[in-house]
Symmetry: C2
Subunit: 452 residues, 2 copies
Amino acid sequence: MQKPSIPKGTRDFSPLEMAKRNYIFNTIKEAFLLYGFQQIETPAMENYSTLMGKYGEEGDKLLFKVLNSGDFLKSVTDEQLIGRNCAQLTSSLCEKGLRYDLTVPFARYVVQHRNEIQFPFKRYQIQPVWRADRPQKGRYREFYQCDADVVGSDSLVNEIELVSLIDYVFAKFGINICIKLNNRKVLTGIAEIIGEADKIIDITVAIDKIDKIGIDNVNQELSEKGISDEAIATLQPLLQLSGSNTDKLATLRSLLEKSATGMKGVDELEYVLSHADSLGMKANVELDVSLARGLNYYTGTILEVKACDVQIGSITGGGRYDNLTGVFGMEGVSGVGISFGADRIFDVLNTLDLYPAGTCVSTKILFLNLGENEASESLRTILALRSKGFSAELYPDCSKMKKQMAYADAKQIPYVGIIGESELSEKVITLKNMATGEQCKVTAEEIADRLS
Amino acid sequence: MQKPSIPKGTRDFSPLEMAKRNYIFNTIKEAFLLYGFQQIETPAMENYSTLMGKYGEEGDKLLFKVLNSGDFLKSVTDEQLIGRNCAQLTSSLCEKGLRYDLTVPFARYVVQHRNEIQFPFKRYQIQPVWRADRPQKGRYREFYQCDADVVGSDSLVNEIELVSLIDYVFAKFGINICIKLNNRKVLTGIAEIIGEADKIIDITVAIDKIDKIGIDNVNQELSEKGISDEAIATLQPLLQLSGSNTDKLATLRSLLEKSATGMKGVDELEYVLSHADSLGMKANVELDVSLARGLNYYTGTILEVKACDVQIGSITGGGRYDNLTGVFGMEGVSGVGISFGADRIFDVLNTLDLYPAGTCVSTKILFLNLGENEASESLRTILALRSKGFSAELYPDCSKMKKQMAYADAKQIPYVGIIGESELSEKVITLKNMATGEQCKVTAEEIADRLS
């Protein structure tokens, strides 16, 4: 018989991995709650019509579709079947698909429950999503997203709060980060100024390369992309944007003077940066005009988080969008949100070995099983320990000592309790510290104190 | 545009529902940890071959299948397509399905990771499962299962621990329960004694009806099912089984004297019952020979939990199985497990209104937004409160007071903090208790104490 396996791109999580993942999710959850976000959950399956067309042509292909139950061919003719147009057939065979992200289900939720929701609605959601992407290192077909969004408020207070939340979370993790901020209106302004609105992506890509290839090569690349010499000349201050955030803001102000939209973007950036500054962040918060992320999606603030001490892509990202729910018929709902990249945070914490001591300890004390009466007495002691909050267990079988101790080692259990014949008659417990090897005899009353 | 919806049988969970569900799951999780169980997670999608044939013919139909990506018709001929044999076509169109329960994925996990696992393996798993059942009240197409199992040990200590765990969890919830215990070997023994091994299901169904229809009607029903008069006469002590667990055990012993298997079952029941008794349970633990649950699956202990104060089906169930992993080629692994019915526990807690005070409180204090400078000062106070563990937020917009207070009410926020012009100059915060309506002025240093 073949050894069983799981679908490619998916993962099993062992107890050790779960302990680490729980640490990550619990830390993020706790922060979400401290900042006033409330949890929701949506179903793994959404209607096909809810999902299709929301992620571009490529996204449609990457959706996992769920086959209808029963006679799934009933609405399909023989001609259609033999025609073998898979894309077209799918909509007849499947009326459901798996969640591709948490944003579209959230938008659907907001519209569907609009009358029960008190706006502004601060929601968080931590659930897996599924994408039929080609699996590769760090890219999975099932992975968790951790999103927090505020919808129904266009106040920049939300941006400040989200930056503060990011700062809080990574400070808790002990990960040094840089929070990069940009604003879509600034990018729009740049495109307006140089009269090349359709080239904005080429421009941001070029700006991003300056450190790597130098300004001359960047200018050449811009020229090759068909950007006029005049426009390139206008862009020069932007390409050489440096110094403090204040310096950068000043350069942007003079450059974008003639674009009302661009100036609005600079105002917004300044507001968020100055508040982040006065609140005092651990993180380095930096204006970065090369930051574009899903340009078509964001309408205001754009943000991204990089780890300072590990070479890895963005570990958190987000921004403001002005028409999340429009696609479901509810216009004028502005929102801003962030998404923590749990898998990458997991990698960073592993690389830097930043898990707090005890993250992987589950059981505090294992009682050895040395016979029926001894085990019964152990169970009584264990029950008392649990009522005081200590995780405790009895080895279920009266196996060889070596095997029982190996179990304690494998589970990283820090203490072993022994009630044998002599302990039974003396009414004591032998307590062994597994790290030091030290042993001592304690009473049932004393043992809890020793474990604290 | 049509209002968006979700697939039938699935649910959105609102913040209020999530708060209650989190209370349930956290209580169960905490108990699992106290008892030494470790968490694992498995993918939502399993290979089609892992799932098919594991849940009977009906179960196969209830599996959700995931359509292959890309050209999903490539391995199907035109003849096969026009033949329209849906069941057969499915295996060509789909190589993956959604998890139907947590037991089969767990068995697959144990076999796949057998070399990394330290046995006995005490694992817990809390994840959603999907079934294409006809939705009805209390039955959903997506629901969570909460399972704890011990595999690789046939010691009855595991049964005792699971009974104790159930007792602990429901005591925490404040739900009065009866834990019903039976043993498959006793049922096998009964069938042996009366020479009607294939009628065991009819017999347990009949026993279960005694309270409702009386002994005469039960005997008549047994007769109609083709059970001989002699067998019915032999069954009489069983049908009238009553009194304490000790009384019932004595009756079973005399009845099953000639069945070695039956006597083994009685021994096992007695062992578990006597230990449950000496450990002292809150729950009423009761021997119930009519308890059969998935008869073909269990091989030893069978258990089920009923709520005393609410009419609802079983809220937890489980038992011992001796060949969980055999279907994946790993023989001889005995296991015992339980599964908490989260949705029904949710219903019971709602019916009896047993949620602890504060379950639905997320944010402790909302600061009103009374202008830019006032908001900045509020943000500083909020940050300090969060660092002390208080969940706090600032209303993001400088809206009308009424709207901001409505927000606090809707989110059940117990305190409102006000920093207006006068508070700014006096360097104080007006603190309002939303329950009593009381207001007082406090300093930034005092506010945390007031909230405690």
